[in-house]
Structures are given as structure tokens and as C-alpha cells.
């Protein structure tokens, strides 16, 4: 039905580019081990992978589909505690239990999504915030095998990479695992954004009534996207629990949630590259500005306010445009992932046909 190449960007993959990026990403941790043992930088990049997945998933919910859900961090924690409890308290192998994390998160997402996603924005804000609070309460005050006295599980089994090539190369393997998860999530989200589902959300955003009258059922699409993003969020939570060796209740803090939200807003709300860009900026900036940690949250708040008022589309599109206008001569016009207003023709394409 859709024959335009720009609607199926994966049909004309730039294999050279993919190859170069993969080669760099695969060799990077070994290069970093040459510098200072690589522990610190590799750790930063692994952190980037984890929060990059969560930020992309949350952006899918908040920015792309306009569900004002504040439950993404809670879903992350569902993943972390699911695998934490199964591997630490029950005693399963972490390689088995980590797959329970996304499943648990998807189930939790369905439980929240079924009653809330039919409702209007403000209800969703309230109910997802309530879910976050209830989960935090329950996990902190819950039974010993979950809360371990209120701080969370302090000794979640690690994935056992220290036995492969020795403890000094442990982080390299975490890097690869994180890279695989990050690449999977990013690719899946990219495909979703360029699929009929993504177009349906563009249609819903641009003209809800028209989209509905053409057969786009907002509830079904929203529920699907909610569960889909919960899957990768839970996976990131599970991976992070095993990587850090703990599932901490301090990750329920609103500072963490705000950090994530700033990643999305800063990078570009509702765009594909925005959250990745924002996560990268924030992860490395936080480390650079460790000394000013007290002022960090204040600065994040100010940055968020400035972007909301002055540049609502975020920094990633701005940077892309600045880059293009500076070096545009060297590039041909490319497919831009940030879609403009959709014409009725494109809407018709977005509508899934029955049967």
C-alpha cells in the first residue's frame, strides 16, 4: 500500500553507515579499557544505555501518543524488583529471571492501562502518579523478601561476567549486553514510529475526530503502545538491577523521574532522536557537573522551563537544523523523522484496513 521509500526507511538502509557505527560500538569498550582501565567511561555508557531505553519508551508514551503517564519509572522498578526477587529471594539464575522483568512490567502496564487509557489526560496523570506512589509505598513497607527493610534488595545476583575474562573485563560484557538491549529497543521503536501504528498516532494527534472516524481506535493503539514500551522499560530495569547488583527503592525518587523527563524534553518531545540525544547530554553533563550537584536540579528545572516556552520541539531538531544549514551543501535532503502536519491523503494511509 505504501510505496514511498520515505515511509519505509529500513528498505534503503545505509549499510556502510550501520557497519561503521556497529564497528565503533563493538570496539569502543576495548579501546576504553586501554584508557584508565575503562571502568569509569564504560560505566557511563552503560548508564546511558539503561536510561536511553527508558527515555525512549517514555517519549513513545508521553510525546508520541500523548498519554500523560507518569508511571514509566514505576514500570522500570517493577522490572528491577521482579528479577531481583526471583533471583535473590527465590534463587533462580539471573539469566532466567531477567526475562521475567519485561513480562512483569507488561502485566503491570496492562493492569494500569486497562482502567486509565480510556480516560482524559488529567485522569491519567493522577492515576499513574498514584500507581507510582502506591508501588513505592508497597515496596518500601512490604514484606522482607521485597523491601529488605525499606532500602530495597541490596544483593541482587550479578550476571556472572567476572568469570569470563576476569573481573577487570567484567564491564565490557555488561556493555555488550546493554548495547544489545539498547539497539533492540531503539530499532523496535524506530520501526513502530514508521509503521501504521506510528502513523495512526500522528493522525490522532493532528485530528483526533477525523482519525477516529477513519477507524483508528485510540484505546487499542494506546494500550498496545503502553504495553510495548513497558516491555523494554522492564527489561532495562531488570538489566540495571543485575548490573548494579541491587534493586533500590531510592530509584522511586522524583529526582530520577525529573531527570528522565528533562532528557525527553531537552532532546525533543515526540521525536525519534530527541530522547537519545537528551539522555546522552544529561548522562555526561551530570558527570561533568558533579561538583555543582546541589544546583543541578535547579538548573534542570530552569532548562525545562526555557525549552517549554522558547523551543518546545527540543534541542535535537534544533541542532539537526543548525547542522544542516551550516553543512547542508554536503547532504542531500534526507527523510526527517519529525513529521509535520499530515494531509488527509497520508491519514488515509495511516488508517489500518479491516481484515
Amino acid at each position: 500500500m505504501i510505496a514511498r521509500a520515505e515511509a519505509r526507511p529500513w528498505a534503503e538502509t545505509n549499510w556502510l553507515g550501520v557497519g561503521i557505527v556497529s564497528a565503533v560500538m563493538l570496539l569502543l569498550p576495548w579501546g576504553l579499557t586501554l584508557v584508565d582501565g575503562g571502568n569509569y567511561f564504560t560505566h557511563l555508557i552503560i548508564t546511558f544505555f539503561v536510561w536511553g531505553i527508558v527515555a525512549q519508551c517514555w517519549n513513545l508514551i508521553m510525546g508520541v501518543s500523548g498519554i500523560y503517564s507518569f508511571g514509566q519509572l514505576a514500570l522500570f522498578q517493577v522490572g528491577a524488583f521482579t528479577t531481583g526477587v526471583l533471583s535473590f529471594s527465590v534463587g533462580l539464575s539471573p539469566w532466567v529471571s531477567i526475562w521475567a522483568a519485561p513480562v512483569g512490567a507488561v502485566l503491570a502496564a496492562l493492569v494500569i492501562g486497562l482502567p486509565t487509557l480510556r480516560l482524559r489526560g488529567i485522569y491519567v496523570v493522577l492515576l499513574t502518579l498514584a500507581f507510582h506512589e502506591l508501588l513505592r509505598n508497597w515496596v518500601t513497607t512490604g514484606p522482607q523478601w521485597i523491601s529488605a527493610g525499606g532500602y530495597g534488595l541490596a544483593r541482587v545476583p550479578k550476571l556472572g561476567f567476572e568469570h569470563v575474562l576476569g573481573p577487570q573485563y567484567e564491564k565490557v560484557f555488561y556493555y555488550y549486553t546493554g548495547l544489545v538491549f539498547f539497539a533492540l529497543a531503539t530499532y523496535a521503536i524506530w520501526r513502530i514510529l514508521n509503521s501504521p501504528i506510528g502513523l495512526a498516532f500522528t493522525a490522532l494527534r493532528d485530528s483526533e475526530d477525523y482519525a477516529i472516524s477513519r477507524g483508528v481506535d485510540p484505546f487499542r493503539f494506546k494500550l498496545f503502545l503502553f504495553a510495548f514500551s513497558a516491555f523494554f522499560t522492564g527489561l532495562a530495569g531488570g538489566f540495571s538491577a543485575h548490573y548494579n547488583g541491587s534493586a533500590s527503592t531510592s530509584l522511586f525518587d522524583f529526582g530520577v523521574m525529573i531527570n528522565l523527563l528533562v532528557m525527553i524534553v531537552l532532546g525533543g518531545w515526540g521525536t525519534f532522536a530527541g530522547p537519545i540525544f537528551g539522555t546522552a547530554v544529561l548522562t555526561f553533563l551530570t558527570e561533568l557537573l558533579r561538583a555543582f550537584d546541589l544546583y543541578r536540579i535547579l538548573a534542570l528545572g530552569v532548562a525545562m522551563a526555557v525549552i517549554a516556552v522558547a523551543a518546545p520541539e527540543g534541542l535535537a531538531p534544533l541542532c539537526t537544523r543548525a547542522f544542516r544549514s551550516l553543512f547542508g551543501v554536503f547532504f542531500e535532503a534526507e527523510y526527517s523523522p519529525a513529521p509535520g502536519p499530515v494531509e488527509p491523503d497520508a491519514n488515509a494511509d495511516a488508517t489500518p484496513r479491516d481484515g
Binding site: L126, L127, A305
Partner: protein, 298 residues
Amino acid sequence: MEIRDALDALLQALYSGVLSGSVYGLMAIGLTLIWGSLRMLNLAHGALYIAGAYIAYGVLSALGWPVLVTFALAVGGAAVIGLAIQLVLINPILDNPGRDSASLIATLAASIVVQSAILLLFGGQTKELPPLLEGGFKVGTTLISYQGLVVIGAAVVCLLLMTIFLRVSRRGLAIRAISQNMDAARLMGIPIAPTFVVVMVISAGLAGLAGVLLGSILFFTPSGGFTPMLMAMVVTIFGGLGSVPGTIWAAYIIGLMESFLAVFVGPSWALPGIFLFMIVMLVLRPNGLFGLGEVRRL
């Protein structure tokens, strides 16, 4: 004896229910006014509440002025912060197409800025305010403090004044007109942006008042505005978004429900019970208790 115990528990639940209901009412009326007229969820409301408490604390500990003057200053201070938020953040994005998400982000950003500024200025330790009136009396085993009665009285007076203001004054009528139909109100020559400013200032002042009043009963921290805001959202939604009488009823119903759950079922059941109730209610009556649909608001 058992009947006595039950009566004592009942009295305790009634007193604390009416007390928290009063504070929720002050918080929720601001949220509902903003929702009704600006069609915007103000996520900075909890920050304004806690800002009121901290301004009072700061003035009191630095200058040592009389408590009543301090409290008035705190309400004014919260209103000024609200005014700044409205002028700097909300007015510029009022006509943007993506107003919903932009205002959500802007108000959340404002709440982050206010809260982290408070944290930098005052530190993270718990603080408390002195009461307007010391002392209290005992009924059965329930200790009723004069401050509690002051809070209840102040809240009831403010809520009544708000209702009268909305029904009688020109500004109040303008707010109601805008909340019923913004386009028609604009065509009738009602100034939209100035009215929004009035709404924001009133709602911020009420949030600050709630913070000051409750700050002398409970301890507070810089992030302490979150739970009251969540409860105010519950109240706002329960009362039917944008309906002032509904919000006032809902505030007391939710306050009483919370305290009855806490006294008779267990303190840890109060919040989960209310949220479960909310979910059931939203499924059964999505427009709230006094949901007026789109026709009549405020």
C-alpha cells in the same frame, strides 16, 4: 467501655477528617479554578503550597515578626510566585498549538525550580511553624487543638468567600464566563489573559494559605507539597473537574474517607483505599460526583 472506645475513635476520625478536608478544599479549589478556566493541569500547585509554608518559616526565623503578619506575607508570597509563573511561563504559550503538553512541562518545571530553590535556601530537614493559637481541649481521648479549629474556620470562610466572589463580582463572573465558553467570552469583550492572571494569583494564594495553615500542624520538607497536591487532584476529579461546589463537597468527603480508613482499617490503607475508590469511581462516573459535563462549570 467498648461503646466509649468506638465513640472516641469516631470523634477522632471526624475531627481529623474535617481538618484535612478543609486543607484539601483550599488546595483543590485553586486546581479546579485553573482547570475550569485555563483548561490546564497546574503541576506547580504543590510547590506553591510548600512555598507558602517556607516563606512563613523564613520570615519568622529571620525577622521574628508576629505570626499573623508572617502568615499574610506567606500567602502574598505564594501569590507572587503564582503571578510570576503565569506571566513568564504560561502566558507566552497560551496560544501555542501544543498547549497541553507545553503547559504540563512548564508547570512541572516551575515546581522543580521552586522546590530546589527551597532546598538550597533552607536545607532538607523537617521544619514546623508555630500555631496562631496555642493549646486545645480534650473531648474523650481526642485532642482538639485551637489551631485545628482556626484551620477549619479559615478554610470555611475562604471557601465561602470564593463562592460569593465567583457569583457576584465582575471578575468572578468573567472567570465563570470563560470557563463556560472561552470563545464566546472573548467575543463578548472579556479580557482573557488578565482574567487568567487573576485566577492564577487567587489559586496560588489559596495554596500558600493551605501550606501555612497545615505547616503549623504537620512537619514539612521541601518536597512535602507532593502528597497534598495528589490529594487535591483526587478531590478535584472526584468533585467533577471545574465544579466549585462539587469540589468543596468532595474535599470533605475525601478528607473524612481518608481519616475513617486510617482510624478503622489502618493508617497504611488510607491512600491505597482512596486511590482504589478513585479508579472505581472513574469507571462508573467518569464526570465525577457533581460532574456537570461541558455545559455548566464553576
